[in-house]
Symmetry: C3
Subunit: 247 residues, 3 copies
Amino acid sequence: MFKAVISGAKNFKKVIDAASNLLIEICFEVNEERVKAIAMDPDHVALVSIDIPKEAFDEYEADVHSIGVDLEAFKKIMNMAKAKDKLILELDEEKDKLNVVFKGAMTRKFALALYDVSSLDLQVPDIEYPNEILIKAGPFVDALKGANLVSDWATLKVEDGKFIVYAKGDLNESETVFEEDSESIISMNIGEDAKSTFYLEYLRDMTKAASSGDILKIYLGSDMPVKVEYDVAGANLTFLLAPRIES
Amino acid sequence: MFKAVISGAKNFKKVIDAASNLLIEICFEVNEERVKAIAMDPDHVALVSIDIPKEAFDEYEADVHSIGVDLEAFKKIMNMAKAKDKLILELDEEKDKLNVVFKGAMTRKFALALYDVSSLDLQVPDIEYPNEILIKAGPFVDALKGANLVSDWATLKVEDGKFIVYAKGDLNESETVFEEDSESIISMNIGEDAKSTFYLEYLRDMTKAASSGDILKIYLGSDMPVKVEYDVAGANLTFLLAPRIES
Amino acid sequence: MFKAVISGAKNFKKVIDAASNLLIEICFEVNEERVKAIAMDPDHVALVSIDIPKEAFDEYEADVHSIGVDLEAFKKIMNMAKAKDKLILELDEEKDKLNVVFKGAMTRKFALALYDVSSLDLQVPDIEYPNEILIKAGPFVDALKGANLVSDWATLKVEDGKFIVYAKGDLNESETVFEEDSESIISMNIGEDAKSTFYLEYLRDMTKAASSGDILKIYLGSDMPVKVEYDVAGANLTFLLAPRIES
């Protein structure tokens, strides 16, 4: 069995949004302790990991199950959530559906078809990073938008103790500099100068589920995948994005 | 002559919106007592009836006239209404126009061309319904949206004393249940279980002019047209929609 | 050198918006006293003049320079401005760029490519107008929208001491009347009746940078270009639009 209840349906919506920006389908591996999912985007450039401990739910009861769903359909259903709705997720093993129930002034029940999503045995690789930056999501997203004005690529840099988002187009350039004492920065743990370039659309998709005040942990090295981590509604979201190989 | 003045131009806008969602043109039959219009949508699936007694206006003076207008043009003009505008509708028999005048910080006058709209001698049929549900428009519209996620059709049901909006797509299902004590329900007058299926786009068009807190009267039987009635700005709006014939 | 600092980045954005609605590129002529630009739209129907005295800036230092930029790119960069950002404009003569820097919680720097914009020796012609109307931008724009419902052209009229925006389409008509004592009118200095017809898209572009409460000075004659002037963030904007030649 699998049944999980969460009082803030709108918050859980963000978790699904985060996944649906990069993935088409997902397989949630549930067990007595947690709901987990790891997947790569269709282009195999980004890795998405979702980890929701049972403590994130108001009620939680589960055996071991693999629950594969279409994220576009799940997202549309989650869009129906009202601010005060309670959300109930329940596996209907007989009908092979995931019931998504919103309880508020009325009870709305959606039965979501299950898919046989191939759950590759992926793991978030355990990489040592020279730099760790804790930054508010809002200003970081603004920096990405600025970069996007002039290019489809952004270079994330650590230089002279500053964290820099840089982009260079054919004509124009964009550079956002975060100094350590900026009010956008929570902390910077700098080991060495570093520089990697990423496709902006992925960087933006990875940060879309974060609210402006949410805190992103960005792990950055030179020509290494960037790791971005944040918490949404008690769920841990981790994204890994491969850098552009400079030729 | 025909001259009618209403202080809430924005409210009257809703009446025109309600009609324009389903109809292309309309013929208002005015007389000393009221403004009336009955028409069927171009596909002859839905019947729209508008009845505005003279009491809904601040000033009202009229002989017998048929005033046919293009609803798209009328709607665009009504969109110009400001919150505090007074609306004056006046027939200009000489120029064969309906003058639509907004009086506020400035006076804006639109002269709307009259059409010779064939006014069939329609009537809202006097059907006896086994069930009458009074429900807030907002939650009912939410239920329709939920149904629309999985299908183009929604089944309205009365079952075990509950009012249910149900839809089944190829993969997923949606079901919204209103119990009698739900805060969305004003009252339920249940005679017998009933069930009819309707095209969602029409159901949604029929309810578009209602504000979230407005109260809809829904009359439902089995494989019968559904009747939806509500008041907007002193005008009575009645919609009748034919069910899908289950083969 | 050219360096100018302004505390309200968002306000300066309006100046660029105003220009970019009608022009593709612009050449700012800067000197010790001011930033000026005069240009005609690509169809040579409208003249745009921008005049920003150094007093409009918090800091200002400049020699004589011609700074030609692409307005679409400049506008997109200005869209990045946050409410509390300080804006620094600085000519980088070495790299041949205009640096556009936003200073707030972070520092965002854009380097905007310079163009060799042919700066024709244009001047706002010194025409005597019989009528001068000072009107709030909001109601005037509403009148233009009303006209736009029925036609692509609007006639601006002074008649019997009233200022009128009139349009006549194939079927419908629109007329907005501003009397001298209307709360939309600041003052009317009427010399004689006048009437000129203009292409609405230009009239709307000319007024887009004005906020609803901003005051427009409209100079109107018969079959003469209309002149519209207003101030945005200490900058004077002047627009001249050629009338339709009635045949």
